[in-house]
Structure formats: structure tokens, C-alpha cells
């Protein structure tokens, strides 16, 4: 259970209420590149266990969360810290680039 499934009902508690930064992966089942970055996101959830929480939002089922954070291109990764989005990454970034972003926010 290293990745948390986020939806409209647990967003406030899991993301805004988190004591550690949360990396949220906006994805959808029909999105090939989302599946292609999924292993990278999963690796990060293991490597940063305890320091960062990793959440997944299915944009198909959570259109209101997607439009709230203006996600119109997936995969999109948003890092939330202290109850607000602090970094948005659209499309593919290498694992090392993502690690740099996470390290800078820790």
C-alpha cells in the first residue's frame, strides 16, 4: 500500500491533511503514457516512503478534482505541500528530475 487512491471524498484528509508532501499522479485508464510513467511513480513511492506520500487520481472518475487543479493533459504530477499545490509537472520527466523536485521540497 505505498500508493494511495485519492478521490473527491478523501482528498481533504489524504492530501490537504497530510503531514508530509504529497505527490499526486493524475492518470486515466485510456492514457498510454500514464501507464508508462506509472513504474517511475511507484519507484518514487518506495524510495521516499515515510518522507513523501504518493497518491493516484483517476481523472475519469474525478473530473471535478481535475478541473479544480486545471489538469487538461495527462500524465500530470502535482506536489502538494502545506495544503497547497507547489509544483506541477506535465508529461514525462526522468526519475532523476522528479527526485530533484522532491528533494527540493523536503
Amino acid at each position: 500500500m505505498s500508493e494511495v487512491v485519492i478521490n473527491g471524498s478523501n482528498f481533504d484528509s489524504e492530501v490537504l491533511g497530510s503531514t508530509v508532501p504529497v505527490l499526486v499522479d493524475f492518470w486515466a485508464p485510456w492514457c498510454g503514457p500514464c501507464k508508462m510513467i506509472a513504474p517511475v511513480v511507484e519507484d518514487l513511492s518506495k524510495e521516499y516512503a515515510g518522507k513523501i506520500k504518493v497518491g493516484k487520481i483517476n481523472t475519469d472518475e474525478n473530473m471535478e478534482l481535475s478541473s479544480k487543479f486545471q489538469v487538461t493533459s495527462i500524465p500530470t504530477l502535482i506536489v502538494f505541500k502545506d495544503k497547497k499545490p507547489v509544483q506541477k509537472v506535465v508529461g514525462f520527466k526522468s526519475k532523476n528530475d522528479l527526485k530533484k523536485i522532491l528533494d527540493s521540497l523536503l
Partner: protein, 329 residues
Amino acid sequence: MTSKKSWIHSFNTVQENNYDIIIVGGGPAGLTAGLYASRSKMRTLLLERMGCGGQNAITDWIENYPGFPEGINGFELASKFEEQARKFGLEIKTEGVISIESTSQDISGKAVRTENGVYAATAVVIAAGASFKNLNVPGEVELRGKGVSYCATCDAPFFKEKDVAVVGGGNSAVQEAVYITRFAKSVTLIHRRDRLRATAILQEKAKNNPKIRFKLESVVKSIQGGEQVESITTENVKTGAKEDLNVQGVFIFIGHVPNTEFLRDTVKKDDSGYILTDENMQTSLSGVFACGDARKKLLRQVVTACGEGAAAAFAAQEYVEEKRGTAYK
């Protein structure tokens, strides 16, 4: 002290990470090369910076890959390639390759450096593929992910009942324009020439689609918007007349650039960066082979990528056996 330690570390890494063949890239070309090499009992590693699939994985529907008369979803096809290659023992790691070097003429004379370490191989197959080309107009970078997109299967559902522009006139542009009409209210296809390049059957589909409007002999000069795309400005290439078009999305399919920058001058490339090979996929550097979209050729399709992947794996295998002294002559 530190440098000695890291030297020992990297030396050990090389010893533990020795392969017959290393394949760079996990699209159709790389996965087919992996299938052939593994099935020939070569100790083979495939390095892919993301998950496998390549550009194939972002194609909604492929109807010109033989064996699937009804057509098949690109990601599903890619998953099948991967499953088949793994079945024969292909090892796949999610690591981006930084460089390939020829360190010696020995059996482990190729060093493949990744973000995480160094691997040694006898032969290397480059199947790094290509990426979409940018328009390079004002607003494109700033509005990426805010209405500017390069992947219709990923993003089209976010444009339900919206007006959208598609830029390009090739197969990708026309096929994706048709796909986007499933969601969007209207699609304007913008192409700089007076006719489309796409294959006849795709053109026909687009022309018969009531949601698609054509704006030929036109180029996009800029994309405007704040939090989201609001409009684009086009220019007629003949008359120079400018026009503003209100759209909430811009999908760009104007061709590709090969993912070969990491190779620098290791192998010979053409002016556009495509790798030059002979008919057996051999590059200018002995023991290094190239296949798929990263290679200079006429037709870039899944079926040609697969064929080249098989040929490259076979040539790489022969090279390995030559080095081992076990070549069948």
C-alpha cells in the same frame, strides 16, 4: 579516498552488470529485438526510461499491423510485445541511458551509462525512437498542459464540447483529428500545404466527418491564453492574411525528432539526427546496431520497427558469437 571508493563501486557494478546484448529503448523495435535476442539465449537487458511501449502506446487504434484484422489499441499491442519478450527471459529496467561508449575490443567492450550506473555489454542495439516536434511559436511552452497537447488519446477527453485546433497534415494529425471529434464540439485541422500528406483512407475519414473543418495553406503564428488556451493566430502562407481562432485546445502533430542526442558523436547520424546504418542495422561503430524510428529510413511504422528490431538482434547475436569464437561459419 572518496574517488577511490566510487571507482571500486563502479568497477563492481560493471562486473555484476555484464550482458551479451543491451537494448536501449522499449518501443516496438526494442521489444522485438529483445524477443529475438532472448529467444536466442543471449543474456539481454532492455533499458527504457519510462514504461515500455514507445509512441506506439499513445496511438488509439492501429489498423495496419498484420494479424489484427479488426485493428488494435496501441497500448494493448505494446503490452503484448512486452509480455512476449519477457516470456523468453528478457530483463527490463526502468533507467534512462546517458551515454554509450566503446571501451575496448574485448567481449565486454561496450559501456552503457545510465542515471543509476554502468552496464557492460558485448553488443548494443539502439532503439531509442523519436519524440514529437514542437511548433516553436509564442505561447506553446507556456500553455503546455493548459490546452496545448501532443497526445490525443491522453488529453482529448478533457475537451468535451470544446473547440479544438489540430496542427499538421500527416497520418498522426489526421487520425488524431478524427479521434478528437468523439469529444470536441469542433476540430479545425491546420496544415501549411494545400493538400494533406496522410494516407487516402484517413483523409477520407476526416473529410466525411462533419465536425472537422480544414484550414489549409495556413500556419500557426502564436497561441494565446492565461490559465487555459483561449485562441490561436494563424497566417495564410500565400496571402499573409492573419486570423484569430477561438479554441480551448491545440493538438500538435507536425512530425518527430529522433531521440539520439545522448549519443553525441558515438555513431554517425544524418543532419536531422537519425542514425545511419547498413542494411543489417550496423551503425558506424562496430558492435552497435540501430533500429526503429531513431534510424534513417523512409517508412516509420510499427511493422517496420519490428522487422528492423529482429534484424538488429540477429546481427548483434552474430557479433556476440564472433567475439566468443562460437560463430557458425
